[in-house]
């Protein structure tokens, strides 16, 4: 029982990270119907920027103070938001309105550019990462909760509440939802579509940066290809919850994290990566619109 609860805690912590990344996928898909393949690499950049910042600002790159960690995270969020905006402006905006296949190919191109460009700058080898101090776990009723896990869960909850406020209770959030329902009508109602799309990319990248820092602290290392797998899994989480649906992405992320931890806990951890794609194929078979998604029929 303790064993099961322990995995539950680990699953929630991992799932929270997936959810943060999945939110970026789902919001961009909502407004552009584009799978932003490069999102996983923005996540990687988030961790990378964190590594740079912490190694520059603190003589000791491991275990900086709380304020230091906050500053590092803030820096990496801003840097990632800038990268996200740049990607949208340079690679995706010129292709708006062209066939989906073209934007998809471009997205994959951007993703590879970031990964292998990162490898050029950073070298292919992983580096140790310690923005969050690896303190001893606190043990509650026999379940050990790592400091990083605790921070992860708390941060995610706070961010998701903030995001929920932004999407459902602000002017720009309303505009985002309007664009996702019908961009051309939203434009006619005076919504600046370019601005909304840029904002969406920026917001998604901010969340990805935080996720990157948290993930890199959990598995304390960074390397240029680290975004590939978590990125794909977060996409699966977004599809699971219903792509384009913000609460769906949170739910999907949590479920995926739990499923992974439970499967790898009870079988072998090497099968972990297969779980996500098994779930993806299953959900495509049974309910392609996802758990909370709306079914979209093409208008004839």
């Amino acid at each position: 029982m303790i064993d099961f609860l322990q995995r539950l805690v680990d699953g929630v912590s991992l799932g929270a990270i997936y959810a943060l990344i999945a939110l970026g996928y789902t919001m961009v898909y909502g407004v552009l119907q584009l799978i932003n393949f490069a999102h996983g690499d923005v996540f990687m950049l988030g961790a990378m920027m964190g590594w740079y910042a912490s190694s520059v600002w603190t003589s000791e790159s491991r275990n900086p103070s709380i304020a230091g960690a906050l500053a590092v995270t803030l820096f990496s969020m801003l840097a990632c938001a800038a990268v996200g905006l740049l990607i949208e402006r340079l690679a995706y905006r010129p292709l708006r309105g062209s066939p989906r296949l073209n934007t998809l190919i471009t997205a994959i191109g951007v993703s590879f550019f970031l990964e292998y460009g990162g490898q050029l700058l950073f070298g292919p080898n992983p580096r140790a990462f310690g923005v969050l101090p690896h303190r001893a776990s606190s043990v509650v009723a026999g379940i050990s909760i790592g400091y990083v896990d605790l921070v992860t869960i708390l941060t995610s909850v706070v961010l998701m509440i903030v995001l929920q406020r932004i999407v459902f209770h602000t002017r720009i959030g309303t505009a985002m939802r309007a664009v996702s329902w019908n961009p051309s009508v939203a434009a006619l109602m005076g919504v600046n579509i370019d601005l909304v799309i840029s904002f969406t990319f920026g917001l998604g990248s901010l969340l990805a940066a935080v996720a990157g820092i948290l993930y890199a602290s959990k598995y304390p290392s960074v390397h240029p290809l680290m975004g590939l797998m978590p990125g794909l899994k977060a996409f699966v989480a977004a599809v699971l919850g219903g792509i384009g649906n913000v609460p769906g992405a949170m739910l999907g992320g949590l479920l995926l994290g739990l499923a992974e931890q439970l499967v790898s806990g009870y079988t072998s951890s090497s099968w972990r990566d297969a779980v996500a794609f098994g779930i993806l194929i299953l959900i495509l078979l049974v309910k392609p619109s996802g758990l909370l998604g709306r079914g979209a029929a093409e208008k004839v």
Partner: protein, 606 residues
């Protein structure tokens, strides 16, 4: 069908001749191998290693082109299928006979591997191809990764170290013979009615279904064939290199093949071939900047999408080989039944909105029925119900005596019910000629295998299709536009081309959705004459949605009026003109009352 005699002989001869390029190539390949590649004095080992890599890359690129280029889907897990084929055949070869002088066992192992890959393709494609292209991208990517995880964790497949030594069975001649076969198969498929079906899926899935093409079926077929050849490439690769390791089947490998297809041109077989050669050789010369390779690829890909979205060659080919067409056998037409369309009490709701309520319609052979009503009355929804785009919430719909419940749009098109679209849905990037030819698709009988063999039937059918298409283009006055891309035609001609395409499916009922929209008065008069002549010439019944009252009154024999999804009147044109409810629906209650008063006033003195 005669089993002996001239016909059978002729057919065998034809089948042999159709593979002539292949048979001619074999001795040359063997000669090159014996004389040059294996000649130790020439020291060409390294060169031929590259040449063989090119051959394998060509098989991969040309086969992926079937899915990503022709059919417009997006698979990025080609390396996964390659791995399946490679490992299955490698395991067989390593446990097979030591000596295999005639390579019979090798061929068996290669085919087994390819079939395993095809099966994997079917398992992956079936669930994901029902959905839009970008899901396929993710699923295939995931599949590729899963396959690698499985291999790395299975001692039977050598785990992370890989399999070695695999008997060297594939060499220059084998690899290039298979590459030539792959190119021939791809080319013949593309030039057949099936190739046009693939293209139509890429251009517009809804229109393709309406033309009787089973879009999901064709996507799955393209995907399975492509996986098959990826499996072959994997088998060849293993038997050539002598070892297989999971590290060579990563996402990067898949991405390289995608880059080949995209750079070469989406749909161009020669483009894929050339790009495969260039992208295989290039890294050899870029050794110095090996780290930059993937960066260069990705930038090239982005730049290409921004500047030349269809790839360097587009769908065109560098040259056209062996173009030929021969004699026909016309597929028969089905017989007409009493009521062609029989709708009883059909209702459809979208959430809380009842778009069409209790709708009944009977269309008899050669009838001209018009469906009119204000905007949002549910007219197009009726067409969507008839063609199976939406299933009715209640009621029954029979097309040519068959209940359409559970039938996909393409199956209803097969029954003999064709349509045009309110917002024209031509295959925009295809020529007028090809648009109409795709309409003929379901009337053809040749199998994919026959198309690859280029059997007699397929030649006859191709000719028959071409003649039928020319005739339809002529009737619609579009002969001069034959080879122009549909998107470049003027608006009125696009409408006519859509009618020609619908007629090509050999319908007994033709549904025209606002054919006169956006045309001027003169064109409308011509269109009226055209609609009548279509009815007389093809003996079809026509159901027409139209706003132009002059056209409706002039051409139709019976009119149904819809308002807010409810049929408010039905009758002869003259009855409809004076129907109070219709006037009210169109002009409002106030005007209707005035009108009624006028009639009453005019009628009273008598």
């Amino acid at each position: 069908m005669p089993f002996f005699g001239g016909s059978a002989l002729k057919r065998t001869g034809k089948a042999v001749r159709s593979w002539l390029p292949f048979f001619i190539a074999i001795p040359f390949l063997v000669l090159i191998e014996q004389g040059i590649a294996l000649n130790p004095a020439l020291r060409l080992e390294y060169v031929f290693q590259n040449i063989n890599h090119i051959g394998i890359a060509i098989i991969l690129a040309v086969s992926l082109n079937l899915v990503n280029g022709l059919t417009g889907q997006f698979s990025i897990g080609h390396a996964g299928f390659m791995a399946v084929g490679g490992y299955v055949s490698a395991v067989m070869l390593m446990r097979g006979p030591q000596e295999d002088p005639y390579r019979i066992f090798f061929v068996v192992a290669m085919l087994t591997g390819a079939l395993a890959a095809a099966l994997a393709g079917w398992l992956v494609g079936k669930p994901s191809l029902r959905l839009r292209g970008d899901y396929l991208a993710i699923v295939t990517l995931g599949f590729g990764e899963i396959i690698r995880v499985i291999i790395e964790n299975t001692p039977f497949f050598g785990g992370a170290i890989g399999l070695s030594p695999i008997p060297h069975r594939a060499d220059f001649a084998w690899i290039w013979a298979v590459a030539i076969v792959t190119i021939l198969v791809a080319k013949r498929l593309r030039d057949s009615t099936h190739g046009r079906a693939f293209l139509s899926v890429r251009e517009d899935e809804v229109a393709a279904e309406a033309m009787g093409i089973d879009t999901t079926g064709y996507k799955v077929r393209a995907f399975v064939i492509s996986a098959f050849f990826a499996g072959v490439a994997g088998a060849l690769s293993g038997a050539f290199e002598g070892n297989l390791a999971p590290q060579s089947f990563t996402f990067v490998r898949s991405f390289e093949v995608v880059a080949m297809v995209v750079l070469g041109g989406m749909g161009s077989i020669t483009g894929s071939t050339i790009a495969a050669a260039v992208l295989t050789i290039l890294p050899e010369y870029l050794r110095a900047v090996a780290n930059l390779r993937m960066v260069i690829y990705s930038i090239a890909l982005i730049a290409l999408m921004l500047l030349r979205p269809r790839g360097l060659l587009g769908t065109r080919e560098v040259w056209d080989w062996w173009r030929k067409r021969r004699p026909p056998r016309a597929p028969g037409r089905r017989e007409a039944s009493e009521a062609l369309i029989d709708v009883r009490h059909a209702t459809i709701r979208f959430g809380g909105l009842t778009a069409v309520c209790d709708f009944s319609l009977e269309v008899r052979p050669r009838e001209l029925v018009a469906l009119i009503g204000p905007n949002g009355a549910g007219k197009t929804t009726v067409f969507n119900l008839l063609t199976g785009v939406y299933p009715p919430s209640e009621g029954t719909i029979k097309v040519l005596g068959r209940d359409t419940r559970g039938l996909a749009p393409h199956a209803i098109a097969h029954l003999g019910c064709a349509r045009t679209f309110q917002n024209i849905r031509l295959f925009r990037e295809l020529t007028a000629f090809d648009n109409v030819r795709i309409g003929c698709h379901h009337l053809t009988h040749e199998s994919m295998a026959a198309a690859v063999r280029q059997g007699e039937l397929s030649d006859q059918e191709e000719k028959w299709v071409a003649e039928r298409t020319e005739e339809l283009l002529e009737i619609m006055g579009l002969t001069h536009r034959r080879d122009e891309l549909a998107k470049n035609l003027p608006y009125g001609e696009q409408r006519r081309l859509e009618i020609a395409r619908a007629l090509a499916t050999g319908p007994q009922v033709l549904l025209l959705d606002e054919p006169a929209a956006g045309t001027n008065t003169r064109e409308k008069t011509e269109l009226m004459a055209l609609i009548r002549s279509i009815r007389d010439r093809f003996g079809v019944a026509i159901v027409l949605i139209e706003h132009d009252m002059k056209l409706v009154m002039g051409v139709s024999e019976r009119i149904l009026v819809l308002d807010h999804g409810v049929t408010i009147a039905e009758g002869l044109p003259r009855e409809i003109q004076s129907n109070a409810k219709v006037i009210e629906a169109y002009l409002g209650e106030k005007y209707a009352k005035e009108h009624a008063a006028q009639i009453a006033a005019a009628g009273s003195p008598r």
